[in-house]
Every structure is written in C-alpha cells, then in structure tokens.
C-alpha cells in the first residue's frame, strides 16, 4: 500500500469514504463549537450595544473604514484563492495547490498587517482600553466598553488568522513533500473550512464594528 493510501484509510476505519466522512463530521462539529465561542462574545456585545446605543455608534465612528473595507475584500479574496487550492487538490495538481496556498497566506498576512496598523492607530488615539484609554466624551465608559469588545473580538479573530496561516503552512509543507494527492487531500479541504469560517466571523465583525458609526 502506498503512503497516501494508508493515510486515506487509517487502521480504525473500514474504507477511505468512512474516514473522510468521519473527519468531515469532526471538522464541522469543531466549527459549531467555534460558533458558540464567538457567539458568547456576540451576545455580550449585543447586550451592551442595546444599552449604550449612542456610545457604540460614537466608538464605531473611530474605526478606519478604509482599512476595514480593504481587509474585508482581502479576506474574501484569500478565501477565493484557497478555494482554488482545494479545486487544484481535487485535480491532484500539486504545483497549483502550492501556488494558491502561498497566495492565500500572503493575503492573510497582509490582512494581519493592516489589522495591526489599525491597532497601532487606536493606541495612538488613546482608544485602546485600560490604562491607555483616554476620552473626555460624556460617554467615555461606554465607548471604552465598545473598544474592549472590539479588541477582544478582533483579537480573537486575529489569533484564529495566525493559527490559520500556521495550518496553511503545514499544508504547504505536506503538499511540497508530496503527501497531498487526488486520492488523499482532505486536510486541504479542512484547512479551507477553517479559513472560510474565520472569514465568516470577520463578515460579522465588519458589520458590528465598522458600519454602525458610518452615518455619523
């Protein structure tokens, strides 16, 4: 048996299809679990936004909508690149897999770069919560609350992005050494699921952090 065939059907499984389906169930359950993790933060955010609506709008007006929108577009594009990688994997074209994985990672890294630029701007504007926060507006406390959630939620998202890039790097390595084939490439699909999920989270973060203050 070739190495790829062994990987495609590990000893606890009866057929490769069973392994793929089982792994797929596991992966989606993991994502459901991630939904609840971000869900708790969304719940807390919603409760506080409902009780301090104006302050959250004011806080949101301090967002850099330019960078935010560019980042949204970047992340969506990175997802497209990764979908191309998945497509190439199904065709078994290792060269293309590697190319698209690298593109995805580069776009992801640019996203993180822009994100940290934004964080740096918030620090300079004394919007980062805690000892760095300084705001003379009458809503200072509530605005700080907005920024607490902004930093926790986008921070958790950024952590997921960093982990995602790490996973893609691992996949790239396994592609280069030749483990990924047309028969066995589920890891790439799962890397994709994770990355796209992180994308979904960002879509909501964009809607709740960047958009509310735009009309001010």
């Amino acid at each position: 048996m070739s190495k790829s065939a062994t990987l495609a059907c590990r000893e606890q499984f009866r057929t490769p299809a069973q392994q793929r389906e089982t792994a797929s169930v596991g992966m989606w359950i993991f994502l459901a679990n991630e939904v609840m993790m971000f869900g708790a933060l969304f719940t807390a955010y919603t409760v506080y936004r409902a009780s301090h609506p104006q302050a959250f709008d004011i806080g949101s007006a301090d967002m850099n909508i330019m960078l935010g929108s560019i980042n949204t577009a970047l992340l969506l594009t990175s997802s497209l690149m990764l979908s191309f990688a998945e497509h190439s994997a199904q065709a078994g074209n290792r060269r293309l897999i590697a190319l698209f994985l690298i593109l995805t990672m580069i776009i992801g890294a640019v996203f993180l770069g822009l994100k940290f630029t934004e964080y740096y701007q918030h620090f300079q504007e004394h919007k980062a919560p805690g000892v760095w926060f300084n705001d003379s507006s009458p809503y200072a406390n509530s605005i700080q609350m907005f920024f607490v959630f902004y930093f926790i939620m986008t921070g958790l998202h950024a952590v997921h992005m960093i982990i995602g890039i790490g996973i893609l790097a691992g996949l790239l390595f396994r592609t280069i050494i030749g483990t990924m084939t047309a028969e066995y490439h589920t890891p790439i699909l799962f890397g994709g699921l994770y990355w796209h999920f992180v994308d979904i989270v960002w879509i909501f973060l964009y809607a709740i952090f960047y958009l509310p203050g735009l009309h001010l």
């Binding site: 490769p16 299809a17 793929r20 389906e21 797929s24 169930v25 989606w28 359950i29 994502l31 459901a32 679990n33 939904v35 609840m36 869900g39 708790a40 969304f42 719940t43 919603t46 409760v47 409902a50 009780s51 909508i65 929108s69 949204t72 577009a73 969506l76 594009t77 997802s79 497209l80 990764l82 979908s83 191309f84 497509h87 199904q90 028969e183 589920t186 699909l189 994709g192 699921l193 796209h196 999920f197 994308d199 979904i200 879509i203 909501f204 964009y206 809607a207 709740i208 960047y210 958009l211 509310p212 735009l214 009309h215």
Partner: protein, 99 residues
C-alpha cells in the same frame, strides 16, 4: 470519492457576489436608518455568511448530517442570545427597581 466539488465558475461568482454585498452594506451604512441600520447590516452579513458557508465551504452540497450540525450551531446561538436579551428587554416592565 464522494466529496463535494464545485466548478471554478461558482467560486468566482460567489466571490464577486460577496464583494458586491460588502460594497452595498457599506454604502447603506452611510445613511442613518435608526434601528433598521443594524437590522440591514446584520441581515446582509448573514446573507454573506451563508454564501461563504454554502459555496466556499460547500455546505449546500454536504450531507444532511453536516447541515444538521450547522443548524444546531445556529439554533443554539440564537437560544443564547434570545433568552439573554429576553432578560434585558423585559427588565423594568414592572415599576419596581430591579424587576
């Protein structure tokens, strides 16, 4: 192999759709529609999320079990947020502090 496979065309159309919706929601956000702003923004985000999940993550083409897992995650999240907000929205219905 019974894994879902989509054509490149579908991926590209989904991507274009997503970029378009991002533009739409950002433009709408410049108009103050009161409470409706938030509703529209979250609504469009939900549509975008289901596009990512449906096409890029192939959820539309997955087995019933996978769809069930996704539904469970969404329902459980809605339960959490609905009942929690239920507390905050009904506080103060009685004219006594803290009720």
């Amino acid at each position: 192999m019974n894994e879902p496979a989509l054509s490149l065309k579908k991926y590209i159309f989904a991507w274009l759709g997503l970029l378009g919706l991002t533009l739409v929601t950002t433009l709408i956000a410049f108009v103050d529609l009161g409470v409706w702003s938030a509703v529209i923004e979250i609504g469009i985000a939900a549509i975008m999320a289901s596009m990512v999940a449906g096409f890029l993550m192939h959820a539309f083409y997955e087995t019933k079990l996978i769809k069930l897992i996704i539904a469970a995650a969404i329902i459980w999240f809605l339960v959490m947020i609905t009942l929690t907000l239920g507390d905050y929205m009904t506080r103060g219905w009685l004219p006594f502090p803290g009720k």
